[in-house]
């Protein structure tokens, strides 16, 4: 059973008097616990696809099922609730809340989105801090840590609610290559340890090569779908 399934998915934006077809009737399926990359040049539709999968945007037509839910039918509140329960986000600019510490940023979805009791929260955050290599940094504010560390915290925040799916839009775009590589490795490690499905977008060939499934987008269509040898081996 696929975790994400899209059928004839399209998305049209209206810019002034012009309709822009951002996604043109794509079909795809992403299995649970996979490590997937959407790649392609700017404007190819990567972010639009991620936004639709993440219930941040509605498809114009077609059907999109995410974790057994037809997300195209969700209203504003339903979409927010669905995101809060099932999906984690990692952003290109980290988007940590500047007034909160590292610990509190990871804690944020546990208190503002889900109502976890304090003991359970503390255990979860401690575990995640250790997993992303940020133990001992929990009292620092975002402006006191490096870009790579911020993205580690962002990954921890995305995983805090035990999300089944983490969407990362260009998570390495603002990082140097080594740091970017370590973030991708961290995401993969989290997938291995927690069984979370990671879908990210990138246009960095070295980073995309780390993905197990690669969807290449051009002008809102898939031009190529590759499955890495490691993925094939794992399924063999």
């Amino acid at each position: 059973m696929s975790l994400i399934r899209a059928q004839k998915l399209t998305k049209t934006y209206r810019t002034g008097e012009v309709d822009v077809l951002a996604v043109r009737g794509v079909d795809f399926a992403i299995e649970a616990k996979s490590f997937v990359a959407f790649v392609g040049p700017s404007g190819s539709g990567k972010s639009t696809l991620l936004n639709m999968i993440g219930c941040l945007d509605h498809p114009t037509s077609g059907k999109l099922t995410v974790i057994d839910t037809d997300v195209g039918t969700l209203d504003r509140r339903g979409a927010a609730n669905f995101r809060g329960q099932h999906i984690g986000f990692v952003f290109q600019d980290f988007n940590l809340i500047p007034v909160l510490t590292v610990y509190e940023n990871i804690e944020y979805p546990l208190i503002m989105v889900q109502d976890w009791p304090e003991d359970k929260r503390r255990k979860q955050i401690t575990r995640l801090l250790e997993a992303v290599g940020m133990s001992g940094q929990e009292k620092k504010r975002p402006d006191q840590i490096s870009g790579g560390q911020k993205q580690r915290v962002a990954v921890a925040r995305a995983l805090a609610t035990n999300a089944q799916l983490v969407l990362a839009d260009e998570p390495t775009a603002n990082l140097d290559h080594d740091t970017a590589y370590r973030i991708i490795e961290l995401m993969k490690k989290m997938r291995d340890e927690l069984g979370t499905t990671f879908v990210f977008s990138t246009h960095d060939p070295k980073i995309m090569s780390e993905a197990e499934v690669i969807f290449t987008l051009e002008d809102g269509r898939f031009s190529q779908q590759q499955t890495s040898e490691r993925k094939v081996a794992a399924h063999a």
């Binding site: 941040l56 927010a80 669905f82 995101r83 909160l100 979805p109 503002m112």
Partner: protein, 424 residues
């Protein structure tokens, strides 16, 4: 809720300059309003006290039509003894009445044997008058202040009259008055004391014993021009006025003998509060109006400053709002977060403003600021403000802060995450 409060506090601290500026505006607004209310209220209460406690009493009862012709002090509209007796019966039964005093008022010519001028004369019972207008004895600034306020054949005259007529304490003067039948009578009096004037129509009011007034007017029976009443609690003025109007409505002003007055509400007597009899009531109303305008200004300051801050807060944090919305924060929690920030701004400003105002009011009472009002010199201003007024103003500010935050908070909670995340 505690977490929202914590995050809201930190957001306010993050934009500390703007928070400080807005809080300062609210604080200054509250200080201005509370200080104005305390000082203006004190001035108003003091001046009302001067009129009620030194001249008018809180309520006066007259025969119907008397007040409309009060400038001429019409003797033909005096209350007859039977009417006065009925009014006294009613007043004696009312627990809210502390004291009352019957007066005979007349216009007379005042002569020092070389010059003559007009004077308004109040015939009073000194003990009853002192109980009804307790500041009256204190107004005697020259002369014998020992024993009874007045003795037979003595007169208290106002400063203005004494100065104008060059009359001193102990001098003999003559009062000449025309009675209801048109008969003129004169009587000599000794000046017992000179009284300071209270601003208003009492500038030319002299006082003699009520029996001397009746004798001067050659009254055959003890008529009364007015009955001044002092209440135990002036704050109950409106209720007592209504009650008294009802109680006295059945009494005929002329003993019901001539048939001029009919029975029923307001048939023969009329009841007036001090406000209806004193021009100062207009000043008091003006003070109330000014206070209202100051309150409206405060509300405007709070509304505009908090609206400005919250609109800026939302505008500057669009990406942040997009982030928290994207990770699944329910719109109502985003709304709560921004409302809490506005509420905290209002609460902080209100608390600080109230605290500073109370300290300032205390300091003004310690320093004892004096001022002059009309003939009154060296009046001590004693600003005071009730807990109720403080609570109303602080509550109003907090409510306005909440209302001003509502629109920006609503906008934040309805923001599209994709648009917000893409905001530069």
């Amino acid at each position: 809720m505690l977490n929202i409060l914590k995050i809201a506090l930190r957001n306010l601290a993050r934009f500390h300059r703007r928070t400080l500026l807005t809080s300062t505006l609210i604080t200054l607004g509250i200080i201005a309003v509370l200080l104005f209310m305390a000082t203006a209220g004190s001035f108003k209460a003091m001046m009302i006290g001067q009129f009620t406690d030194a001249v008018l009493g809180h309520i006066e009862v007259h025969r119907k039509g008397y007040v409309a012709s009060i400038d001429t002090l019409p003797l033909n509209l005096n209350m007859q003894p039977a009417t006065v007796g009925k009014v006294e019966q009613v007043l004696n039964k009312l627990d809210v009445v502390e004291a009352y005093s019957e007066r005979v008022k007349l216009g007379a010519m005042f002569s020092n044997f070389t010059e003559t001028t007009s004077v308004r004369v109040n015939g009073i019972d000194p003990e009853k008058e002192a109980a009804t207008t307790p500041l009256l004895p204190g107004r005697v600034v020259e002369g014998n202040r020992e024993g009874a306020l007045l003795k037979p054949g003595e007169i208290l005259i106002p400063t203005l009259l004494a100065r104008g007529m060059k009359v001193k304490v102990g001098d003999t003067i003559v009062l000449v008055a025309t009675n209801r039948e048109g008969s003129v009578n004169g009587k000599t009096f000794t000046v017992r004391g000179i009284m300071e004037a209270v601003t208003g129509p009492s500038g030319r009011d002299g006082y003699i014993l009520i029996d001397d007034a009746r004798s001067l007017l050659r009254m055959t029976q003890p008529e009364v021009s007015e009955i001044a009443i002092r209440l135990k609690n002036p704050a109950q003025l409106a209720q007592v006025y209504a009650q008294m109007s009802q109680e006295l409505s059945g009494i005929a002003g002329n003993d019901g003998k001539s048939g001029m007055a009919s029975k029923g509400p307001g048939a023969g007597l009329e009841v007036h509060t001090w406000a209806a009899l004193s021009p100062f009531s207009n000043i008091a109303n003006m003070i109330d109006l000014l206070t209202l305008f100051i309150k409206i200004m405060l509300v405007s300051i709070v509304l505009i400053s908090i609206l400005n801050v919250m609109v800026m807060a939302v505008y500057e944090r669009i990406r942040e709002i997009g982030t928290i919305a994207a990770i699944g924060t329910p719109p109502r929690r985003i709304l709560s977060l921004f409302l809490t920030e506005g509420l905290l701004l209002g609460l902080g400003g209100a608390a600080l403003g109230t605290a500073i105002s109370l300290v300032a009011i205390y300091a003004l009472n310690v320093w004892k600021i004096t001022f002059n009002f009309g003939q009154q010199q060296g009046l001590v201003l004693s600003p005071a403000i009730s807990v109720r007024d403080v609570a109303i103003i602080a509550g109003l500010v907090v409510l306005m802060a909440l209302l001003a935050s509502l629109q920006p908070a609503w906008k934040a909670s309805r923001m599209d995450p994709v648009t917000a995340l893409g905001h530069v």
